[in-house]
């Protein structure tokens, strides 16, 4: 039987707590969940006859649900959906081989949850606002209103220059918002990552790793930022298990 692994869980000082809890939840397709344990780490698995479990969105959501439930009670590292091993022995070998790294990673995320913060803007409106201040300067750099000679090339260069300036201003603006967010979270000891200009409208995609008890502070901070930046939409998601703050690969 193949072993589908959902998460690597720290047993802590009370491994019985995990074993007692597992019967309360089920895996993909109602599968029984089991713990394969070594070095005070438990790999939470379910057994399947085939490698092909008929992966679809419902199975992915069932998988996520198991991780969600476990994360409410234990420190864990979520596995990527679809991670399978051939036997319990292989799972044990994996735990033995990687136990130090896994423990380090578990310590890093202990009592912490992941939050996502997406910042959206109305792209057209932002372009309009940013461009309003630079159009005159580009079209008539010398302030000479008598210069009206038409040139396709000049129009083209001006258009490109405008686009470039707007992009420059847009990036500067995004940097200033990131600065504001960073300042807010400086006192929260949050581990964070930022992606800028993910799309035309999604200008910031940020991830934070925060203590459970910091949730309310985070909500207040985001709410405050929203009030200070009415042209932007701040969307906060979480708390998530620490999907984005785990070691990417183990062998």
């Amino acid at each position: 039987m193949k072993k589908l692994i959902y998460a690597l869980v720290s047993e802590g000082k009370h491994p019985d707590k995990l074993y007692d809890y597992l019967p309360e939840i089920t895996g993909i397709g109602g599968a029984v969940l089991k713990a394969v344990s070594s070095y005070q780490i438990s790999a939470i698995i379910s057994e399947h006859e085939k490698t092909d479990i008929g992966a679809d969105k419902f199975k992915a959501l069932e998988f996520a649900e198991v991780i969600e439930h476990l994360s409410q009670k234990f420190t864990l590292l979520p596995m990527r959906f679809g991670s399978m091993m051939n036997s319990t022995e292989e799972v044990n070998i994996m735990l033995e081989r990687n136990h130090e790294r896994i423990h380090q990673n578990l310590d890093f995320v202990k009592n912490k949850f992941e939050f996502g913060l997406k910042v959206f803007c109305d792209s057209d409106r932002m372009t309009l606002e940013l461009s309003s201040g630079i159009v005159a300067g580009i079209d008539n750099p010398d302030g000479n209103s008598a210069e009206t000679g038409n040139s396709v090339f000049r129009d083209y260069v001006n258009k490109k220059l405008r686009e470039h300036k707007i992009e420059e201003l847009r990036l500067k603006y995004v940097e200033s918002v990131i600065g504001e967010i960073t300042e807010y979270f400086a006192g929260m000891n949050a581990v964070h990552t930022f992606r800028k200009m993910v799309s035309e409208t999604n200008i910031i995609d940020a991830l934070f790793l925060l203590g459970k008890d910091q949730k309310d502070t985070l909500v207040d901070a985001v709410s405050d930022m929203q009030k200070r930046n009415p042209l932007l939409s701040f969307v906060l998601t979480g708390p998530w298990p620490p999907y984005s703050f785990v070691d990417k690969t183990i062998k």
Partner: protein, 64 residues
């Protein structure tokens, strides 16, 4: 209506965020089997999650 829109949008984002995490993040076992999930489409979320826009979260906090 505005509130409904906010909730709907955040629900859509939630689905994308969840599936993005489950499918693209988390620990990977190198050298072992990883099921292909290319056919998964992003439509429905049945998992309990506490997430929302700030506005919705504030309402949850104040119990409205």
């Amino acid at each position: 209506m505005i509130h409904d829109n906010v909730v709907d949008k955040s629900k859509d984002i939630t689905i994308l965020e969840l599936l993005d995490r489950v499918l693209n993040k988390g620990v990977i076992l190198t050298g072992d089997i990883v099921i292909s999930v290319a056919d998964i489409d992003l439509v429905y979320l049945g998992v309990k999650l506490m997430l929302s826009s700030v506005e919705t979260m504030e309402q949850l906090k104040s119990g409205k």
